[in-house]
């Protein structure tokens, strides 16, 4: 799949991969960067998940939005993208943007300055976030790529989606390792959830049935220092 081009060296811990012929850097922090397009994609930020749960009496620490934005700030500083696509479920619920602490709002707006910012609508946040710049879209086609929140049931070449929060598990030497991952078969890519409080679902779960060509499915597992490309045969359910 990968085009045989002279590649620039990806940043430490990142790997080049191909999606429908487009070249992307698969970053261990859970973002995709398309150097030719100067485009950064991030998925399932689930901002204000903490306060969303707090409304129902579960008072988990209110620092998730801050933590998520700090990590986002770091990748944006590294890649300096011209375009940022937030692939849906950017906020944990429709009222999330309105509840956001003013300091976090300012930090987020600061990140948006000087770039095109797209909020792809997700199931948690179908409408545009309140009082925030950026353009809200159902889906977005750029080059041979199609960015949407939920992966389509039928195979779409070049689709980049989120929603499922993929993780993968392997067993080595009698020990089990589970990590968030990018899941891709060369044609389609499903991104890991980026938010600080987001859980994950194994790529072998029934929810992914029919989304990938099994034989070329790879899980790009997020390590502490780098990405680990693990083939389908080594993956375990659970």
């Amino acid at each position: 799949m990968t085009r045989a081009l002279a590649m620039p060296v990806p940043p430490a811990g990142a790997d080049f991969i191909g999606i429908a012929g487009e070249r992307a850097i698969c970053d261990r922090r859970g973002v995709l960067y398309f150097p030719e397009l100067r485009l950064l994609a991030v998925s399932d930020l689930h901002l204000e998940k903490g306060s969303s749960l707090a409304r129902r009496g579960t008072l988990i620490p209110p620092y998730d939005t801050g933590a998520t934005l700090l990590r986002l700030q770091a990748v944006i500083a590294d890649y300096q993208p011209a375009i940022v696509i937030s692939l849906g479920d950017s906020f944990h619920d429709g009222g999330g943007a309105a509840r956001m602490h003013s300091s976090f709002r300012e930090r987020l707006e600061g990140l948006m300055v000087g770039r095109d910012w797209f909020w792809v609508a997700g199931n948690h946040d179908p409408d545009a976030p309140a009082d925030l710049p950026g353009e809200t879209v159902r889906e977005l086609a750029i080059g041979s790529l199609l960015f949407r929140h939920e992966p389509s049931a039928v195979r779409v070449e070049g689709e980049v989606a989120g929603h499922l929060h993929p993780c993968a598990r392997i067993v080595q030497q009698g020990r089990s390792v589970r990590r968030r991952c990018f899941a891709g078969d060369g044609d389609r890519m499903i991104m890991p959830a980026f938010g600080a409080y987001t859980g994950s679902l194994n790529v072998l779960d029934r929810a992914y049935a029919g989304l990938f060509r099994r034989e070329t499915l790879m899980a790009y597992m997020l390590g502490a220092e780098r990405i680990f490309a693990i083939s389908h045969a080594m993956l375990r359910p659970g």
Partner: protein, 840 residues
């Protein structure tokens, strides 16, 4: 002893009402001295602690004050106001409550007492609970969790207004856990409802009875204690250590070498109770025994992971004396009917002298007859430990753990519970909480932070005011903000956290999980173990060798298999560390060659070889050996402080050694020793004092190094999860849905990471660190050891491995390596792919 019965008889006439005396006489019994003494103490208005061995008639003693009082009460006339609960009985086990109902019912019926007795446990149907609220029994038998629920009900004060006594059974086992903390707070609440409330604690022998005496009464004024009655004596148990014909292994825990000898003991006795320390050992021993069970004797298996129905069947068979032997993990796992056990076999070292005494106490119901017990050490160090425990048991030494301060997570749960019951004043509740012994030293700022935590999470970032669970109203009272909070509280009450586990269910071999609905459930196995299995792997469980067929939702499917290399599930937390007392006894024994005569010859020889090749540690010294082996350099230390403290020490020492350039590669810890291996020659480094051993073992390792290591440690994450669940930060259960263990695990780990980086001083992190220090890390014990060995480190730089080092060296590579599953495993997997794909 001879005078006591006569004295008791005289006193009995004074304190026991006539119908009771007649009943005793009809039975041909006479009341025991301690039963009358306890009755007299209670009649004088005092709370009391009764310490007595099994079979001393503790239960009847505990209920005599209630029964005699209830017997003298005028009958209730029709139309008269209802009478509330008179006596509350609390035990750690549901089964025990049920059993007491049966046993107490008998004398009540025979004496003809107008007393109603009922149980209330998690299994009690809702309509019966409702009825109990309207028409309470005189005596209610229940568990700590049910008490917490009762006091969180809006009618609690009225429900308990007639309460006279609280009887607390198995107090020694209750007080050492968070359940005990919650119970102590519940008691404090009951005392505030009924100021004259009397408590009666029933306990096995403990090291510090005064701690329990304080626990039973209000600590306002500070230091108050319940009266104490101690029943000594009972026949001295006949304990021996198996003097095996076989070679005692250097290392390992299976005691497989002794199987034929254990089997012949089973054949020689009527019923044998075999205790082991872990569930894994239970599975192994059971398999081994059946392998040699030529006479197909009825030998059964019993541990806490087995299906309840299966356990009940085994207990029933045991009660009917239909079994010849039972392999069991702990007395608390077992039900109550003991049958005629005439031999206790303890496989593996007992790890504590008190534990040994309590287990052996199970062998015989009649305290006047000696119990018979055999200890089977699984390896050579355990021979030393068994010998030390045996000497201690004869001396009556006690080494139950000291009580720790009450957990703040438990307090948070209680505060919310109190608010669910009735609005509270912070000042009043603070004073009330401090009457509970575990919280006697709680300071006001900490209490206020706990209340703040319950209200809004207690975060520095004040974002959740509008979502507060409890609110301070104008009248100065804290109130629950809405009824849903109370409903959620009731679903999450208690301090017992279950490890994520899956049902193990039979299906036909080779069939796909989805194709068949499956057969019966064998029990539950921890998810962490199942995750390491692949389709087709075999493992031992429920006394069978099983084939892993797959996981579907909350079930693990298995089929029967033949397996020689079957794995044994590893159960976390099932293993007790060596007690401080026993550790010291082992050190003393090593230091005293005269005492080696009592040891089996092969073990004494081993120690003599050690004296010859290296040196034996003096009782207060720390021996450290260094030697090369293969292309590695080894450091072996012998602190004898238990596995948990050694693991912590190992983590900290490897960090330090790494900084000094020793290039450590790994370590392994047992109850007795710690081994670290490295690339650099540590022996030479120590001799050149770069670093010196006293620098390396300096107490300051418990400062920054500990903090730094702890921060990212999985141990702390696991502890945090428990604190988060108990404190009510995260719900164990939500109305209408049960969270699976994994969902909770994932989220608490993420929450931990976020909280630690944004508010490291948050009260829940404080509670987590305090727990870890006494629990999984055993920092307190490590601290004592580091201070004890200052200036007393003995270094032996050897050419080769010493005899004493052999056991721990054999553990290298055998023990499961704990810790975060790290990236190196991912690296291995990724490399395999690269190689296979030819992209490397």
């Amino acid at each position: 002893m001879t005078e006591q019965p006569r004295l008791a008889k005289q006193n009995a006439a004074v304190h026991l009402p006539e119908p009771f005396l007649r009943w005793f006489a009809e039975k041909g019994w006479s009341p025991r001295a301690h039963q009358i003494e306890l009755l007299a103490t209670a009649q004088a208005g005092q709370s009391v602690l009764l310490i007595a061995p099994t079979g001393a008639g503790k239960t009847l003693a505990g209920f005599l004050p209630s029964l005699t009082e209830l017997a003298g009460r005028p009958r209730k006339k029709p139309g008269q106001a209802r009478r509330g609960i008179h006596t509350l009985y609390i035990s750690p086990l549901k089964a025990l409550a049920v059993d007491i109902e049966r046993n107490l019912g008998k004398p009540v019926e025979e004496i003809g007492l107008p007393v109603t007795i009922e149980t209330r446990t998690g299994d009690t149907p809702a309509h019966k609970r409702q009825r109990q609220k309207l028409a309470p029994p005189d005596i209610l038998l229940t568990t700590p969790e049910q008490l917490a629920l009762l006091i969180a009900a809006p009618d609690a004060r009225r429900f308990f207004e007639d309460l006279h006594y609280v009887v607390l059974d198995e107090l020694h086992s209750l007080v050492t856990s968070k359940r005990g903390h919650l119970l102590s707070l519940g008691l404090a609440r009951l005392r505030s409802f009924v100021p004259g409330l009397q408590t009666i604690g029933l306990s096995a022998t403990v090291a510090e009875p005064d701690e329990l005496r304080r626990w039973l009464v209000s600590q306002n004024p500070p230091g108050g204690m319940a009266e104490l009655i101690v029943v000594t004596g009972g026949a001295k148990p006949e304990i021996s250590i198996l003097d095996s014909e076989e070679r005692v292994p250097w290392a390992g825990h299976s005691a497989r070498y002794a199987t034929p000898e254990i089997y012949s003991e089973i054949k020689r006795h009527k019923t044998t109770l075999l205790f082991v320390n872990t569930r894994s050992q239970a599975e192994l021993l059971f398999q081994e025994l059946w392998r040699v069970n030529e006479d197909t004797l009825p030998i059964a298996l019993h541990h806490g992971s087995l299906d309840v129905a299966q356990r009940r069947r085994v207990e029933k068979a045991m009660g009917e004396n239909a079994l010849r032997a039972i392999v069991a993990t702990s007395t608390l796992d077992l039900g109550i009917d003991w049958g005629d056990v005439d031999l206790v076999v303890h496989v593996g070292a007992p790890k504590g002298a008190s534990r040994l005494a309590q287990r052996i106490g199970r062998a015989n119901h009649r305290m006047d007859e000696p119990s018979k017990a055999i200890l089977i050490p699984a390896n050579r160090f355990e021979v030393l430990e068994c010998r030390a425990a045996l000497d201690a048991n004869y001396l009556g030494a006690q080494d139950t753990p000291p009580l720790v301060n009450g957990g703040l997570d438990v307090l948070a749960q209680h505060v919310l519970g109190c608010a669910c019951g009735a609005p509270f004043l912070a000042d009043t509740l603070f004073e009330e909480v401090r009457t509970a012994a575990p919280y006697a030293s709680l300071d006001r700022p900490t209490f206020d932070r706990v209340v703040d935590f319950v209200a809004t999470g207690g975060y520095a970032l004040k974002n959740y005011e509008r979502y507060a669970r409890i609110r301070l109203t104008k009248d100065g009272l804290w109130r629950v903000s809405n009824p849903r909070i109370a409903q959620q509280y009731r679903l999450n009450v208690g301090t017992i956290i279950e490890v994520p586990a899956l049902n193990v269910r039979y299906i036909k071999a080779g069939s796909k999980g989805s194709a068949s609905r499956g057969g019966r459930v064998l029990g539950k196995i921890e998810e962490a173990f199942l995750e390491t299995l692949t389709h087709g792997d075999t493992f031992m469980f429920a006394g069978k060798v099983l084939r892993f067929e797959g996981i579907r939702e909350n079930e693990c499917f298995v089929s029967n298999a033949l397996g020689i290399d079957a794995k044994v599930p590893y159960y976390g937390g099932g293993k007790f560390p060596l007690s401080t007392y026993l550790a010291e006894q082992v050190r003393i024994m090593l230091d005293d060659p005269l005492r080696w005569k009592k040891l089996p010859e092969q073990v004494a020889d081993w120690l003599r070889f050690q004296a010859d090749k290296s040196v034996l540690p003096k009782r207060d010294d720390l021996l450290i050996e260094t030697f090369p082996r293969g292309n590695r350099h080894y450091l072996v230390a012998y602190p004898f402080e238990g596995r948990l403290a050694h693991q912590t020490l190992g983590m900290l020492l490897t960090r330090r050694l790494d900084r000094t350039g020793a290039r450590p590669l790994g370590f392994v810890a047992t109850d007795y020793a710690l081994a670290i291996w490295s690339l650099a020659d540590m022996g030479r480094m120590f001799r050149a004092k770069k670093p010196s051993l006293s620098e390396l073992f300096d107490q300051d390792m418990l400062g920054d190094d500990l903090e730094a290591w702890l921060a990212g440690s999985w141990l702390l994450k696991r502890t945090f999860r428990n604190c988060a669940l108990i404190s009510g930060l995260i719900e164990k259960r939500h109305p209408g849905q049960e969270k699976s263990g994994r969902q909770v695990t994932v989220s608490t780990d993420l929450i931990y990471d976020v909280l630690r980086s944004h508010e490291p001083d948050h009260i829940l992190l404080q509670a987590t660190r305090a727990d870890a220090a006494t629990g999984l890390l055993d920092v307190s014990r490590l601290a004592e050891m580091l201070s004890r060995i200052q200036g007393r480190i003995v270094h032996k730089n050897l050419e080769q491995i010493s005899p004493l080092a052999v056991p721990i060296m054999l553990e290298i590579g055998k023990m499961p390596v704990h810790g975060e599953a790290d990236d190196t495993l991912l690296m291995d997997a990724a490399t395999l792919v690269e190689e296979a794909m030819g992209t490397k």
